[in-house]
């Protein structure tokens, strides 16, 4: 437990991604098998001990601690595992610290009723940090600020391989990942997962910048709409079906309406959308269904999911990734005619005569379903990662409003001495008194340069009217031109609207706050969905 508890203890306090990576790589380098494999499983959320509940930990603490003192301590600390770890009165113990491997293997084979005795034996020889790590591990939810993705990137860095290579084998492996570490250590071959429904790292697009448009040879590209959903991969192999997010998270359990209909064997690339009566619904409807482990019947009925396909990576067992975009498109259309899969359709190819026409189409692409165009080189194979010059996303121009700075919050890590996160508002008339008031409409923490940040930080400090911990309220006197991709109704916000990807486009030092935009202006930018699949015009 020592190296693992020290790792968790450092991670929980570390704001910097690179420092976290360095700490995890260092751990993989020094921790033995199978401990590091179990640690990897814990970090990626793949380790659970459903037999041990929080109540059992509390009961365990009561064996040693005055219940009154425990309750006061818990009220102060606010976390059961940490309270128990700190308050635990150690008894002299001759036992050595348990290893992570021992903990995992023993708990997996221990009956629920015996688990508290087993855990009690471990708590005595451990120190407070070791107890905390043990109890966090057992009760689940480490919450040390490490995503599964970050753990995999650390794994790639450790093994000197691309992160995509890790993703490609990940879903075919199981903890404690002996095979994986053997491969990364150069002591074994790459795990063979040909017949498993693994994730295939997707091909990603670069944004097409304004100054690149002139030089681009548009005739060598296919155009498609850029759908406003989330990128997914539908994988069906050896009778097993999976739905993966762009980052390789298995999200299938929340989307049975898509997966249950899959009868084919293939790997498909497409956009997950909510489609009702043939109409693509706004992104925030899809959002209701994301980040859930399961889904209710009501959600399935109200926000039915759908996949709009735009590429095919495998047809049966045949790997198509080396074929050109045009050839793959032909194979995708043939696949679709053959299988006619439910809850799926083809993303149409957008015909265009030249750059001018495409620019007109892009400018018109402002509705609830699309956010611009995709340009894909006709002769490009399917390459994992973000290769240069093959795929572009050409987003429509952003919307902008002028909003007034209301609150500023300290940033994190390198920015911890700067007020760098800004909440801004738009004007409306107070519902009762009718006097003008600002209501918050969004929050942004990028879009400005480091030099501008210094000026903003100084402005915030000079115009503070109130402090709430790390937040300062400022006089309503500074206007931001805020750019954002779209705006939606949101009952969770006081203003009733929520922006997507807001950023500071310009600081309007010159503009009086009273001339900033009104909430009605923002509400007028809310768009409804529009009919799907007839947009190829």
């Amino acid at each position: 437990m020592t190296p693992f508890s020290q790792l968790l203890d450092r991670l929980i306090y570390t704001p910097s991604r690179n420092t976290k990576l360095a700490l995890i790589v260092d751990y993989f380098r020094h921790a033995p098998d199978p401990d590091r494999g179990w640690a990897l499983a814990a970090l990626t959320g793949g380790l659970a001990f459903p037999g041990v509940k929080a109540g059992a930990i509390r009961d365990l603490a009561m064996r040693r601690v005055d219940p009154v003192l425990f309750q006061w301590s818990y009220d102060y600390v606010g976390d059961l595992a940490e309270t128990t770890a700190l308050i635990w009165p150690e008894r002299r113990s001759n036992r050595a610290w348990p290893t992570l491997g021992e903990v995992v293997e023993r708990l997996r084979t221990t009956a629920r009723a015996d688990a508290p005795d087993v855990i009690e034996e471990w708590l005595d020889p451990l120190d407070a940090t070791g107890r905390w790590a043990l109890l966090k591990l057992i009760t689940g939810g480490l919450r040390v600020g490490v995503s599964a993705r970050l753990a995999k990137v650390a794994l790639a860095e450790y093994g000197g391989v691309e992160a995509t290579a890790i993703e490609e084998v990940w879903h075919g492996l199981e903890a404690p990942y002996g095979e994986l570490f053997a491969w990364l250590d150069g002591k074994g071959v790459r795990p063979d997962l040909e017949d498993k429904p693994v994730f295939r790292p997707p091909m990603l697009a670069h944004p097409l910048e304004d100054d690149e448009v002139e030089a681009l040879d548009f005739d060598t590209f296919l155009a498609e709409w850029k759908w406003d959903g989330i990128r997914v991969q539908v994988v069906s192999r050896g009778g097993e079906r999976r739905l993966y997010s762009r980052t390789g998270d298995d999200i299938g359990a929340a989307f049975p309406d898509v997966l249950d209909h899959v009868g084919f064997e293939a790997v498909l690339d497409g956009e997950l959308l909510v489609v009702v009566d043939g109409e693509v619904r706004p992104f925030n409807e899809l959002q209701q269904r994301l980040n859930r482990k399961t889904v209710t019947a009501a959600m399935l009925r109200r926000h039915p999911a759908f996949v709009r396909l735009y590429d095919i990576l495998f047809d049966g067992a045949e790997d198509l990734r080396a074929l050109s975009m045009l050839e793959r498109r032909g194979r995708l259309e043939a696949f679709f005619r053959r299988e006619l899969p439910s809850r799926m359709d083809l993303s149409p190819v957008v015909d265009f005569a030249g750059r001018d026409e495409l620019e007109r189409l892009r400018a018109g692409a402002r509705d609830g379903a699309t956010e611009g165009l995709m340009l894909k080189r006709r002769d490009a194979p399917y390459v994992a990662g973000r290769p240069k010059g093959l795929w572009y996303k050409w987003k429509r121009g952003p919307l902008t409003v002028d909003a007034v700075l209301m609150y500023a919050q300290r940033g994190h890590g390198r920015r911890s001495s700067f007020y760098s996160d800004y909440t801004f508002g738009a004007w409306r008339d107070h519902p009762e008194t009718g006097t003008p008031e600002l209501v918050p409409v969004g929050k942004a923490y990028f879009g400005f340069t480091d030099d501008e940040l210094k000026l903003l930080d100084k402005w915030v400090r000079d115009h503070t009217v109130n402090r709430f911990g790390p937040v300062r309220e400022v006089t309503h006197a500074l206007v931001f031109e805020v750019a954002f991709d779209s705006i939606h109704r949101s009952p969770r916000h006081k203003s009733g609207v929520a922006m997507r990807f807001p950023r500071i486009a310009r600081i309007r030092w010159d503009k009086p706050a009273a001339e900033a935009d009104r909430l009605e202006t923002l509400e007028g930018m809310i768009l409804r969905g529009r009919p799907a699949a007839d947009t190829s015009g």
């Binding site: 306090y13 704001p15 009154v68 700190l86 911890s416």
Partner: protein, 342 residues
């Protein structure tokens, strides 16, 4: 005749704890005629008293922090020296908290009360170690009066700091410390651990360090942590250790430091959420107060049947003291607060 119980001759007044037959307050919360001061932290040593009795170090700290107090009479007392004040005998005994810190022992007609002020039981290279004084009533603080507060070995904490310095040689480690006591103790512990390189310190810490040096506590090569040109980070701080007051470590002052690892030395760092809220990347659990176990151990060591609790988390400590057979009473003195450096 039996000795009078201290509750018959020591009163809790709005100004603080008052010894009636001596005519003085201990650590009064507002200006009074006669005060005995346990130590120099600003919540215990306030300005404006007409007569002050304390250790020579505490008097020096008060003079430095409060400036000239015209018309104030001072009386320096050595540890263990007994003087008569009114009808009582007063003596001061080391409390182990900071330089010059003392417990005040007051004896009246064979009855004895010890007011400990703030105290700790660990060895500290910068001040005299706590001495248990047997008494009838022991007056204690309860800053860390919850059983979750058990300070680890401070030398192990310093070792964690030095490990981190080795792990990140391109970064600067900035340690948040309170200017009286914690700063000098951290420097002392670093020197004990073999760190003989220069230590840089925020300007607000240096005068107190000089005062410690003047009282015979040697702190080694100490330099001001000045900024580079136009406030830019200074490369010479890379791989180094810089000390600063807690308020400065994540504020503008810290921009002079290259990619700092923010550390904080305090007993409160035991609780993770507290450390994270403060933006601390490396919490060091080093305190100048007794932890939970040490509070209870001290009651046993002084052998007093009765414990009075001045400030802190008194309800848990009262509960535990009562369970151990002590008479325990909370004085509910308002005004002693944690200055941020516990």
């Amino acid at each position: 005749m039996t000795a009078p119980h201290p509750e018959t001759w020591v009163e809790v007044r709005p100004q603080g704890l008052y010894v009636v037959p001596g005519g003085f307050y201990v650590d009064p919360l507002r200006a009074v005629d006669r005060a005995v001061i346990t130590h120099g932290h600003s919540d215990h040593a306030r300005a404006g008293h007409r007569a002050v009795m304390a250790t020579v170090e505490t008097l020096a700290i008060m003079a430095h922090r409060l400036g000239d107090q015209p018309d104030q009479a001072t009386r320096a007392l050595a540890y263990g020296e007994v003087v008569r004040v009114g009808d009582v005998a007063v003596s001061l005994h080391p409390a182990g908290h900071v330089l010059g810190s003392a417990q005040v022992c007051v004896e009246y007609e064979g009855s004895r009360i010890v007011v400990s002020g703030d105290y700790k039981r660990r060895a500290d290279p910068t001040c005299a170690a706590f001495v248990p004084v047997p008494c009838d009533v022991f007056v204690t603080e309860a800053t860390f009066g919850l059983p979750v507060f058990r300070h680890p070995d401070d030398r192990a904490e310093i070792a964690r700091l030095l490990d981190s310095v080795r792990l990140f040689p391109e970064r600067c480690h900035v340690v948040g410390v309170y200017s009286l006591g914690k700063a000098q103790r951290i420097i002392g512990l670093l020197r004990e651990a073999g760190w003989d390189r220069p230590i840089h310190a925020h300007g607000a810490l240096l005068p107190m360090c000089a005062l410690y040096e003047a009282h015979g506590v040697s702190l080694g090569d100490l330099r001001p942590a000045t900024a580079g040109a136009k406030g830019t980070p200074r490369d010479e701080f890379k791989g180094g250790i810089v000390l600063a007051p807690p308020s400065a470590i994540i504020d503008r002052w810290a921009r002079r430091l290259p990619d700092p690892v923010v550390c904080m030395a305090s007993g409160w760092m035991r609780v993770r959420q507290r450390a994270r809220q403060g933006g601390v990347e490396l919490p060091l659990v080093i305190s100048d107060h007794a932890d939970w176990d040490e509070l209870l151990q001290t009651f046993d060591d002084v052998g007093a049947p009765e414990i009075w609790i001045t400030h802190g988390r008194e309800e848990a400590l009262m509960h535990a003291a009562s369970a151990r057979g002590y008479r325990a009473r909370a004085l509910a003195l308002v005004g002693y607060e944690d200055e941020g450096g516990s």
